[in-house]
């Protein structure tokens, strides 16, 4: 596919929009369908598309395997870390009310909390999806 100019240009044009759409799905996840999981898959799909068209090596120059593995672990730290922060602020584990900037409106904390936690989900799902893709795409030796 590396020779097909339409596919190459098409993938290049589409990729940023796919990434943008992933962020849209994430940030609207708290009050409409979507969320971190879907966003993570879409984000990984953008890079899978680029890898299919431009080759795995090109994508791994931008997004090395150690980085996506780190992402898989980082997301869990973000998720569990939000809980630890609320605990340090004197509330129960994952009680988002603690995150409200204005204590008179603790319910605003729910908004921030859910976005942060879902960000953790996004990062982990992206990392795992990309790792799985790399592992399968990087297999050598067998005829396709």
């Amino acid at each position: 596919m590396r020779e097909e100019i339409i596919v190459r240009v098409g993938a290049k044009v589409l990729a940023p929009f796919i990434i943008m759409f992933a962020l849209y799905v994430h940030f609207h996840g708290d009050y409409s369908p979507g969320g971190g999981f879907q966003a993570g898959v879409i984000l990984a799909a953008a890079f899978a598309l680029l890898a299919l068209v431009y080759g795995l090596e090109e994508v791994q120059r931008v997004l090395p395997p150690w980085f996506v593995r780190g992402c898989a672990a980082l997301g869990v730290v973000i998720f569990a870390g939000v809980g630890v922060v609320t605990m340090l602020l004197g509330h129960n584990y994952l009680a988002y009310n603690a995150l409200a900037p204005d204590p008179t409106h603790p319910e605003h904390g729910q908004h921030y909390g859910i976005l942060l936690v879902e960000l953790g989900v996004l990062v982990t799902v992206f990392g795992v999806m990309a790792t799985v893709f790399y592992l399968f795409a990087g297999r050598k030796g067998q005829a396709p």
Binding site: A72, A73, V76, A80, G83, H91, N92, Y93, L94
Partner: protein
Amino acid sequence: MAEHYPALQVVVPLLAAPLCLFVRNGRAAWGLAVLASWSALGISLVLLSRVMSSGVISYALGGWAPPIGIEYRVDIVNAWVLVIVSTIGALVAPYALTSVEREIGARRIPLFYAAYLLCLSGLLGITITGDVFNVFVFLEISSLSAYALIALGQDRRALTSAFRYLVAGSVGATFIVIGIGLLYSMTGSLNMADLAQLLPGVWESRTVKVAYGFLAVGFCLKLALFPLHLWLPNAYTYAPSPVTAFMASTATKVAVYMLLRFFLTVFGAAFSFDVMALDRVLLPLALVAIVSMSLVAIFQVNVKRLLAYSSVAQIGYMVLGLSFATVTGLTATLLHLFNHALMKGALFMAMGCVMYRIGSVRIEAMAGLGRRMPATMAAFVAGGLSLVGVPLTVGFVSKWYLILGALERGWWPVAVLVLIASLMALVYVWRVVEVAYFREFTGDERTREAPWTLLWPTWALVVLNLYFGIDAGRTAGIARQAAEVLMTGIGQ
């Protein structure tokens, strides 16, 4: 901070797991794993003592009050199981360092500790939560990491056994989640205490009975009750030594806990025993498991495999205690959860020491090892005696309560069967002892005693075996209290 202990019990190992991947160094990851395991043990001990002095602890996750939010609910039953799991975790983690460096490639060691910590936090989570869906989530966390841990074994057969375990485990987990879904459709609640109050109103519905059936099969797959045990022997045989020691002493115990929690607390003892006849279903299965698996164990040539079959038989004892449907029977079950964890942990750790030095755990390879590795084999003998149920070991205490329970019901043939099975345990333990002590050593002349880093956790478990075998009052007291809580249901 103290009021957050129920959450921290799970969060500490859960947070340590991804950090292991960031440090990218085997030793540092090991340090994290030991730190997390020991803090989990400390937390569980504090929780147990607090539950014993002041009753049930309820923790509302996210500040959402139960039954809407997820509740962590610690009573004496799960505080007891938390202590079992975290004790084994705290001893397996230091043991793993030397063993893992020999059995697993250096690149994978941080991954090993990450998976181990995830497994630990999953098992602790299943135990501590008061929310049935949360049970399923933690079950998946612990199972998925367990498959990965087993697949890390040196032998290529580890991969196929991990895959078989994955298939069996996934079927089990699916059955459990179907059961939970049916319960939710009937009651609209996922909170255990809430379900316990709502379920008596819909006892008559077929949906609840079907849910019960799905849950029963799912749990029995997870706890490897005969005839659903087929995944277990290979998984235990080919897993890395510390993984076998950890899984054999915790995973099936937590599955037994799930069974008790769902069928006695959520459904209630009255429904389980009077309506669903759980005791009459489990009794024959438990007896067949005890006798047939002890018999199979006698004919094994691989000691890890022998111990794995013996584990299936021992699970039979735990289920047998439940099938008495009395407080004494349940006391025996709960006591045996702890006691079996101690003895199997010690035995599998001793096998890990043998594996470390001679690279094999086949019986014939262990000829004369009693003189070459005296401390290791002495630990094996002590663990073996406990398995048989010799007085002054924990095994005796379990068997005592089990036989007491059988006689209380007037089932003396069951008591006789338990004694016969103990003699069979003596046979398979003796086979190893005979080869190790009464044959000439034929292996490599340089074979020495296992390093102390492996020996001290093994011996710590042996000492616990003996200590709680002599001073059984405390453990039996807790087990009896827990059994009473389970039999009376949630309204204590």
